[in-house]
Structure formats: C-alpha cells, structure tokens
C-alpha cells in the first residue's frame, strides 16, 4: 500500500466514523415515536390504554337507536398533559331486553381512512362523509369501500339500578381487513 493509498483509506474510514457517530443517533431520534414505552402506549399521543371510559347511563339510550357520545379522558400529547380532553367519539346502540350484550359500541372512526362516521340520511344505518363508506345498523359494510365492518369496542355495564355504560376506547389500523389495535 502506498502512502497515498493509506491516506485515501484512512480518510474514508475516519470520515465514515464521524458520519456514523452523528447519523446513528439522528436516525434513532427521528424514529423515537416507534419506540415502545413501559406502559404499552406509544411515545406520541399516549393515553390510559386499558381504562374504561364512563360514557352514559343505560336509560339515556333508546333500543335500536344509535346515539353518539364523546370519549373524554386525560390525554398526553408529547410533553403536555391535558386533563379531561375529548379524544374521540363512539356510537352506542342499545339492544332489545334480554339480548347480550345489552349495548353495542361502535368506534366512530371509519375503518377505511379514519374519518368520522355519521348516521346515514334517514337513519337507516351509518355513513362516512369522506369517501362514502356505508354501513347498516349492525355496522356491516353496504358497499366495497370499507375494508371491514365498523369497529366494535368492549362494553361493560355497572351494577347500578340505572347502569352506567363503560367503554374501552381503542383505535385500530385503517385499511386493514382485520381489527388490528394501534398500540
């Protein structure tokens, strides 16, 4: 190896070393949101993942008539902690007496691309105004636009005389044919 070759190789090696020392932390920095943290939530908009939101009382709901309720809970947005902030909404449909479960909760987030689902005109079912996804009252797709039925959420009722409806609010991956919860 000549002296010049040594200089050439040495320059490339040292230059590469310096670039790596800066680039590797930079990649990690930019990919921070992908890092899972202890509680299971992602680093970005963390929320109380497993908590049940107390949304309404059963008597507020009429059988077969969908009604929209906001989900209000503490929200962590990067460095800021917002107490009691609306983070989304759900459609609650009360089932006839004796049917299990007594209340079905649908996420109002469209499984297509995440727009907010509204009632269809005339109240025959659900409709998403962004790309015209249509669903019937049971949340089943009425056209080919949505990849899957509307996402149902876990519901629990309290033991009160007029039970409170508790919903476990979750988000799912858009466009997937299966319900894949977002961490």
């Amino acid at each position: 190896m000549t002296r010049r070759d040594f200089h050439r190789l040495g320059s490339l090696a040292l230059g590469g070393l310096i670039k790596l020392a800066v680039a590797v932390p930079a990649v990690a920095f930019l990919l921070s949101p992908l890092r899972k943290r202890g509680g299971g939530g992602s680093e970005g908009a963390g929320t109380e993942a497993d908590s049940l939101a107390n949304i309404a009382s059963l008597s507020q709901l009429k059988v077969g008539e969908p009604r929209s309720f906001p989900i209000v809970r503490d929200q962590v947005d990067a460095w800021v902690r917002y107490p009691r902030e609306p983070v989304g909404s759900v459609w609650l449909v009360r089932q006839p007496d004796g049917v299990e479960p007594p209340v079905i909760a649908y996420s109002a987030e469209c499984p297509h691309l995440g727009c907010a689902i509204n009632l269809a005109p005339g109240g025959a079912g659900f409709h998403c105004p962004c790309h015209n996804s249509s669903f019937d009252r049971e949340g089943k797709p009425l056209n080919k636009i949505p990849p899957r039925p509307m996402d149902t959420l876990d519901v629990e009722l309290t033991k009160d005389d007029d039970p409170r409806v508790l919903v476990r609010f979750e988000r799912f991956q858009a466009l997937a044919e299966e319900k894949i919860p977002l961490a």
């Binding site: 040495g10 990067a78 460095w79």
Partner: protein, 598 residues
C-alpha cells in the same frame, strides 16, 4: 456499477471537473497540521447544522411550549440527549476553533493581499457565529436562557440613540415572550444560516482561489502532496479527535443542561453567561451603568473595526510593524480576557450568596424535571411557565414564606417576630392533638396575642389522654368535609354524631366554638370550627379573618390581616392550602424544600 453511475452523472453534470482542481492542487510544503483548522471548523459547522435540523423536528417555538419541547427532546426522545448534546458542545467547540483559526490566520498575516476579502468574510462569519450563539442560548426558554437574553438585549438597548429601538425590534416588543422566541428562532434557524451559508461558500471559494497560505520560506519548496487524500487525512484525524472530545463531554454530562422554566418573577436567579462570554460579563462590572455601552459596544466594536482595517492599513503602514502591533494587540486582549474570566470565576467561587442561589436554582431545575417527567403531572396545558406555578411545593411554599412566615412559623422557621402559630401540619390530627396537649407552647398560641382561650380551657379541663385522642380524631375528620356540604347534612352522616370524640367535643370545645345547629358556644368568643382544616376553611381564614365565624371578635390590629384577591391570587391561595395539606408530588432527595434562612 458504482463507477458507471458516477460516470453517467459526471457526463451530465461535470462534477468531477468541479472538485478536481482543488482536490488535486499541490499543497505548498505538503500536507500540514497547521492547515487543519478551517476544515475542522467547517466539519463542526456541518454537525451543528445537522443536529439543529434534527431538533427542528421536535422543537416548538413559543414561550409556553419551548421549555416543554426541549425537555421532551432531552429526557424523553430516543437519543435526544445526544443530539442536543452534540449541538450544545458543538457550539462551544466552534467558539474555540474559531478563535484558533483566527489567531492562526492573524499570525500568518493572511489578511495581506490578495486575501483581504477572505479576511473580511472571516470576520463576518465570526460575527454571525456570535449571533448564532446568542439566539440559540435563549431558545429553551429556561431560566438561564431567559435571563441571559434579558441582559444581552438590555446591553443592546443601552447603545446611544438607536439602542432602544433596536432592542424593541429584536425582542418583538417591550416584554419578553412569544414574539421574542419566534424572532430568535427565525434568526437562529433561518436568517443566520442563510447569511452563514453565503459567507462560508464565498470564504471557501476564495480559499480555493488563493490556496492555503504557506508558512514563510516554504513557498518555494515543491511537493507532490495534494488536498485529497493527503491533507484530507490530517484534517479528518483532527476532526475525529475534536468530535471525540465532544462525544466524551456529552457522555460525561449526560446531554446538555436545562434549567427550570423561565420565571420572570424570580428574584435570585444567578444569571451567568457561557464561559466564553465571561470576560465581557466581568468587564461590564468595571463600567458605571451610564457608560455601559463603552464596555459592551464601543470597545468590542473598536477592536472588530481595527481587525477589519488591517488589510487596508497594510498598504499605508510598514507591513512588519503593523503585523507586530496587530499580534501584540490580540495577545494583550487575550491576556486581559483570560484575566477577567479568571477573576469572574474566582469572584463567584468566593461568594456564598452565589453558591446558595445556584443550589436553589439547581433544586428548582430538579423539581421541574421531576414534575415534567412524572406520569401524573407533566407540563400543564397552560404552558411550562405554569409547571412551577401549579406546584404547591414550589409556589405554595414560596408564597407562604413571603406572606405568612413574617408572623407564623413553619416547622420553627420564619422571619421577624413570631406572633402566630406554627403551620407545620396545620389541619392534621397531629397538629390538633399537640394543641390540645399544650396550647400555650410557641408552636400554638404561646406567642399569639389575645388568643389565650385555649390556654384557659386547658387549665380547667379534666379530659384524659384517651379522651383528648378521641377529640383529636374527631376534629381531624373535619378537614375532609366537602365544600358543598352543610352542617345538617354533615351531622346526618354515619359516624359523625356518634363519633367517640363527638361528646367531649360538644361539651368542651362547643362551650366557646360555635357550629351553627350543633354547638352553641357562649362562654367566650372563638372561631367557628365547621370543616376546620379543610381547603374552604383555610381559604376563608386567609381571605376573611375578620368574618364573624373566624376572628371577627378581635380588634383589627390584633387580627391576622386579610388577604384579598388583589394581594393573593386564587391560584396562590390554592397552592398554600395544598402545600399545608402536603398535597403535592413528594420531592426527590435533590429537590427537598429548604426554607430560606431568616
């Protein structure tokens, strides 16, 4: 394959012919260590630009979000501490390298023809780097950045005639706030980088045109060594060493420092500039306020202009003599600056007040970081300025110290003469039990004028220790009575009227203390005890000590002064109440409360 792509690009762009002349130009006297400074400086500049760009993806410029986002970068994001550390220590490295580069160019007299314009560009770059340093220092909007900015902009404002206008324009108004952050941010990441790029590009282009200036006597010697790869190798060894030191500093310090969020109301923050500005800071102390601008603007400005004029003076004065004087001037200044820097650090070192203020500031920093990173607290939506203002341990203790401990005591500590009880654990069972045991002690009403009722009661009371325990148990439940509950509702709750301590309370305490619908009082006057120790009881005591159910029966000058909303905000009142009730995130070892010595 790679060659093929490179050939294709060269064919279309000619990039090789653009790089070649410089890379393959023979170096006068061969590759030398003395030529590395400019290259190392340029490399660290690139690191600064890159790490800065990274942080721009996470930083949020406003007075309410800046601190929180920097905290997030430093403490929460993956390798954020390293990226910010690179930028922090890179900035200091630039300062050192810049000085070395400047001295080297000056000693080589490289300001002489034909390099005059490059000398001026270098000086302009120096000014731009100083501006970078000042604008960047402020961006975290922590105590350090806030007070340093205040000082620097006030120095600007002290300049004759135009000073105040320049200052207002830079700060974005009379007050330091959102506009200050956005303006400094715009300067730091937009305007200054563009200026820097233009000047640096011209600087490098001219350097390529003139070549590196060889030391005297070497010019004649021919050499086969060229910039690439011979000089590049030396430059990269030097760069690796410098970056290695930076990385070692980052690892040693664990990132870059972040003080508590900016608090314009703090009165004892020991603001000091970064070490490389210490000599200026120290020099200012030697100028009377009115002539501050002489030290801060006129002298540095004159030195700068002298340097800028060197290439021109070179034409009229003997070159050798001028060079000697220029070097002597800079040596003299460096010696003076070194002396001032040393003097400044020694002065601080010998001052206990400085150490005390620094310890307090460090404790506040630790507290702020603990609050911000705690999952149940975090930065409040109102902004990082409220992080501490909504912390009972910081704010409540601070207000209590300032407004209450002139007469009251807190765990025996306080200022002036004690004329009121000790508030440690006020509202708790321990406090009330202590009172029932020995009302005449200093911690209770021993030093409180006109409040001898409890002492008189104690003389005549026959309650034994067990009964006193029960009364204390009963009274301790009062603090939990909700604000919206009245006496009847309270009495109808299970466990109230039939509490073991209730009978003795009714019989003995009720002789004087009135609770409407429960006890009648009458023996002598005393404050009402319904919901005693609860937030609403304490709030009313602070706002309306003259009320009938508090100490309205005392003469005004014997009473505790009332603190209306004008002298004590609702938030401060809430903070005092929560501080007394120990309702806050418990302090870690390093942020333990320390009451200021009286």
């Amino acid at each position: 394959m790679l060659n093929y792509i490179a050939d294709w690009f060269d064919d279309r762009t000619g990039f090789r012919s653009w790089l070649r002349p410089f890379a393959e130009k023979p170096l006068p006297g061969g590759a030398r260590w003395r030529y590395v400074f400019g290259s190392v400086l340029a490399s660290v500049f690139l690191i600064q630009a890159f790490s800065g760009l990274m942080m721009m993806t996470a930083y949020s410029p406003s007075s309410s979000t800046a601190w929180g986002s920097v905290f997030y970068i430093e403490k929460q994001m993956w390798m954020g501490w390293f990226i910010r550390g690179l930028h922090h220590f890179g900035a200091q490295t630039v300062m050192i390298l810049l000085l070395l580069h400047f001295l080297q160019v000056l000693f080589a007299a490289a300001y002489r023809a034909p390099r005059e314009v490059n000398w001026w560009l270098g000086l302009a770059l120096m000014a731009i780097v100083l501006a970078f340093s000042h604008t960047g220092y402020q961006l975290p909007w922590d105590q350090k950045g806030y007070w340093a900015t205040k000082v620097v902009t006030n120095i600007m404002g002290g300049a004759p005639v135009l000073g105040p206008y320049i200052k207002t324009a830079v700060v974005g108004g009379a007050e330091y706030g959102n506009q200050t952050v956005t303006r400094f941010y715009g300067l730091h990441v937009g305007i200054l980088p563009v200026l820097m790029f233009v000047c640096l590009a011209a600087h490098v282009a001219l350097c390529r045109r003139h070549g590196l200036k060889p030391p005297e006597g070497l010019a004649a010697k021919a050499s086969h060594e060229t910039y690439w790869p011979d000089q590049a190798f030396l430059s990269l060894i030097a760069t690796t060493a410098v970056v290695g030191v930076m990385v070692a500093m980052i690892l040693y310090e664990g990132g870059a420092p972040l003080d508590a969020p900016a608090d314009p109301s703090s009165s004892d923050y020991p603001a000091r500039p970064e070490w490389f500005f210490r000599f200026l800071y120290q020099m200012l102390k030697h100028f009377p306020g009115k002539y501050e601008w002489v030290g801060s603007i006129a002298i540095p400005g004159a030195i700068f202009l002298t340097m800028a004029a060197l290439p021109l003076l070179d034409k009229v004065v003997s070159s050798r003599v001028l060079h000697f004087f220029a070097c002597a001037l800079i040596f003299g200044l460096a010696g003076g600056a070194g002396y001032l820097t040393l003097e400044s650090f020694l002065e601080d070192h010998g001052k206990p007040e400085f150490h005390a203020a620094r310890v307090k500031a460090d404790a506040e920093r630790d507290r702020a970081l603990a609050l911000a990173s705690h999952p149940d607290y975090g930065v409040p939506p109102e902004g990082s300025g409220f992080l501490m203002r909504l912390d009972p341990l910081t704010r409540g203790r601070g207000v209590l110290e300032a407004k209450c401990l002139g007469c009251h005591r807190m765990n025996g500590e306080g200022a002036d003469e004690q004329t009121a009880p000790d508030l440690k654990d006020f509202g708790s069972r321990a406090w009330i039990r202590g009172l029932l045991e020995n009302p005449g002690s200093d911690a209770y009403y021993g030093k409180t004028p006109e409040c001898d009722g409890m002492v008189d009661w104690k003389k005549s009371s026959h309650l034994d220790a067990r009964q006193l325990d029960e009364v204390a148990d009963f009274l301790a439940t009062f603090a939990k009575i909700p604000a919206e509950m009245n006496v009847d509702e309270w009495l109808n709750q299970p466990g109230v009227a039939d509490h073991p301590g209730a009978a003795a309370f009714e019989k003995e305490c009720g002789m004087c203390h009135i609770i409407d619908g429960y006890t009648d009082g009458g023996l002598r006057e005393a404050p009402g005890l319904f919901a005693w120790g609860s937030p609403q009881w304490i709030a009313r005591m602070i706002r309306r000590p003259d009320a009938e159910d508090r100490y309205g029966y005392l003469a005004e000058k014997q009473r505790m002064p009332a603190f209306a909303a004008e002298s004590l905000t609702d938030n401060d009142l809430k903070m005092i109440v929560r501080f007394l009730a120990d309702d806050y995130l418990p302090p870690t070892e390093s942020s333990k409360p320390t009451l200021a010595a009286p």
